[in-house]
């Protein structure tokens, strides 16, 4: 099931083409939208929200055409923008309630719902203070709250963990994961922090210079080469490499005291590594079958 279908979509700002001939299906659930700066991610998001008109091609989001039904579309979509934004002079409650009213909610419902959503986003007593006095973490939560207030079916989160300290990041990622799994809200996360995307999303779409570079579900994409093993030693040791080579392991890459070795199929890795270590006096601190990270997938897509 897909929530959005893009067919041959081209978006341009005057002479500059931001996205060209993009055809992709955005699946349900939590999707990561990746790409270097200038790849067209923000432009794509704005088009899918219906306030940029594509030059050619079509895009169908939640069953609505972005060209013609932009207003109706925005009723069911929420955007958490990357930049700092607020309505001057309001506190969190009035801001989120106002956002609700702009989406058509009656004032009483908007107020009630604002409190509910702010509670969910983790803003306690601070919600009665002026938004301009907030820390980065609180500002991010408000941006999320104003996107959620009208009960959207699809959310676009642009760099949700930007500027957050590790604790704040943890909270935000938990929120994103919670919202997109089991609450009936689909989420598209655009972020440069790949581990964050890995944690929250099930699928990725990688863009590059306005084109689709890679897409698919993360688990499938991450399946690495089964013959490779990542080994971490206490300290880098060439003697270890020699011992391992004698037993049939070949070096693929190294970084400090971490090595990636290719080991023939059927060989017991543990035995091989411990024997090599024992012989060369190195100490193995960990090893595991090489798993590609999202970063590896991304870098490959950029080649």
């Amino acid at each position: 099931m897909s929530i959005a279908t893009l067919t041959d979509l081209t978006i341009a700002y005057g002479p500059k083409v931001a996205v060209s001939n993009l055809s992709v299906e955005i699946p349900e659930g939590c999707v990561g939208l990746l790409g270097p700066n200038g790849a067209g991610k923000t432009t794509l998001i704005k088009t899918l929200m219906g306030f940029l008109t594509p030059a050619s091609g079509s895009a169908n989001v939640l069953g609505m055409d972005v060209r013609r039904e932009g207003l109706r579309l925005r009723q069911r979509i929420g955007l958490m923008p990357e930049q700092d934004c607020h309505i001057p002079g309001m506190n969190a409650v009035s801001f989120v309630a106002y956002a609700g009213e702009l989406s058509g909610m009656p004032r009483s419902q908007a107020m009630r719902r604002a409190h509910e959503v702010l509670e969910y986003c983790g803003l306690g007593e601070a919600r009665y203070r002026n938004v301009e006095t907030y820390s980065t973490g609180m500002k991010q939560r408000i941006k999320l709250a104003q996107a959620l207030v009208h009960g959207p079916k699809l959310m676009f989160l642009d760099e949700p963990t930007n500027g957050l300290d590790p604790a704040g990041r943890e909270d935000m990622l938990t929120l994103v994961r919670d919202i997109s799994h089991g609450k009936g809200v689909n989420v598209v996360v655009s972020s440069h922090l790949l581990p964050d995307v890995e944690r929250t999303c099930d699928n990725v779409i990688v863009m590059r210079e306005g084109h689709l570079a890679r897409e698919g579900d993360i688990a499938t994409l991450k399946q690495g080469n089964e013959a490779h093993v990542d080994v971490e030693l206490y300290a880098a040791s060439d003697a270890f490499l020699e011992s391992a080579a004698k037993r049939g392991a070949a070096l693929v890459s190294r970084l400090g005291s971490r090595y990636t070795l290719r080991i023939a199929e059927g060989v017991d890795c543990g035995r091989l590594l411990f024997e090599s270590a024992g012989e060369s006096g190195a100490q193995v601190r960990g090893f595991r079958p090489s798993l590609r990270t999202l970063e590896d997938i991304f870098m490959e897509a950029m080649q």
Partner: protein, 317 residues
Amino acid sequence: MTEGPRNSVATPISDLTYRDYDGPLLSRRLRWWSVTAGGLRTLWRLDLRAIAFWICAVLCTGPYLILGFFLWITSTVAGGNSRAFMGSAPGVRFAMLFYFALRLQHLFLFVVALIAGAGSVSADNKANALIVYLAKPITKMDYLLGKWANIFIVVFGAALVPALMLYLYCLAGYTSEGFLRDDPWLILRIVAVSAIAASVHASLVLGFSAWCRTPRTASAVYSAVYWGAWSIAFALTLRTPDEDMTAAQSLVAHLSISGVFIGLAQNIYRVTPSRFLNADFPTPPPWHVLSVVAVVLVLGGIAAARARIRAVEVIRG
């Protein structure tokens, strides 16, 4: 709102995490009112801007209070005969008071317009609020209309309420002297004049607010334009005494923003050239010319604002 099955007896513990919103939604046609209401609410607070607004609103009542006082004084002192106080063409005796009050009041009305509107779009630009607005199911025109209505309502109120106070005072005390008989349509004239002044201010302040980056700059620019135009118009017709002016000269004297709605007010109130309380009322300038200017200002301000509300910031590269 329907309560979900989560709160039924079968599961005594409620799920208080996020839930969908499936409650009532207001019609899309009223969306602009949310913007207006949001803006109006900002004046109902305890901060510097709101306090300044209320002070100026009170000052706006000043001219009407003063004229009411003079009306009372002369009618009591002159032995109940207020004709001696006004001595002008029939049907205009009381209308003159409202016209003169507007002339005295327009400075404070201008400040009210600035407070209400200088930040309407510029503060939003500074705080990057437009991205919040545009991501909602609201059109550019809803936003603009909402902001315009916000300023209009505030300035209209500031102009109308004091006038109504004086009107009610006259109604209470001077009906026996022919207040209603003289001009039964006076109340409509008052409303029309207030509406014109409010519209002109709303459009122009909105336009300047959209083109300037901060509320302060917008205020400064509008002040410069407003008072600059007034000064020029004043200087150009300085040498001709008011009661000797021709219609053309009077038009030039009224070619400023304040002049436009004051001149139209004079036409609406049908005030003829005369002397009143040491002030000279000139020949009324031709109303058709002024109307065109007023319409141009109103539509021009809105169009200028519309051109500056950008949906997207373009970042290249």
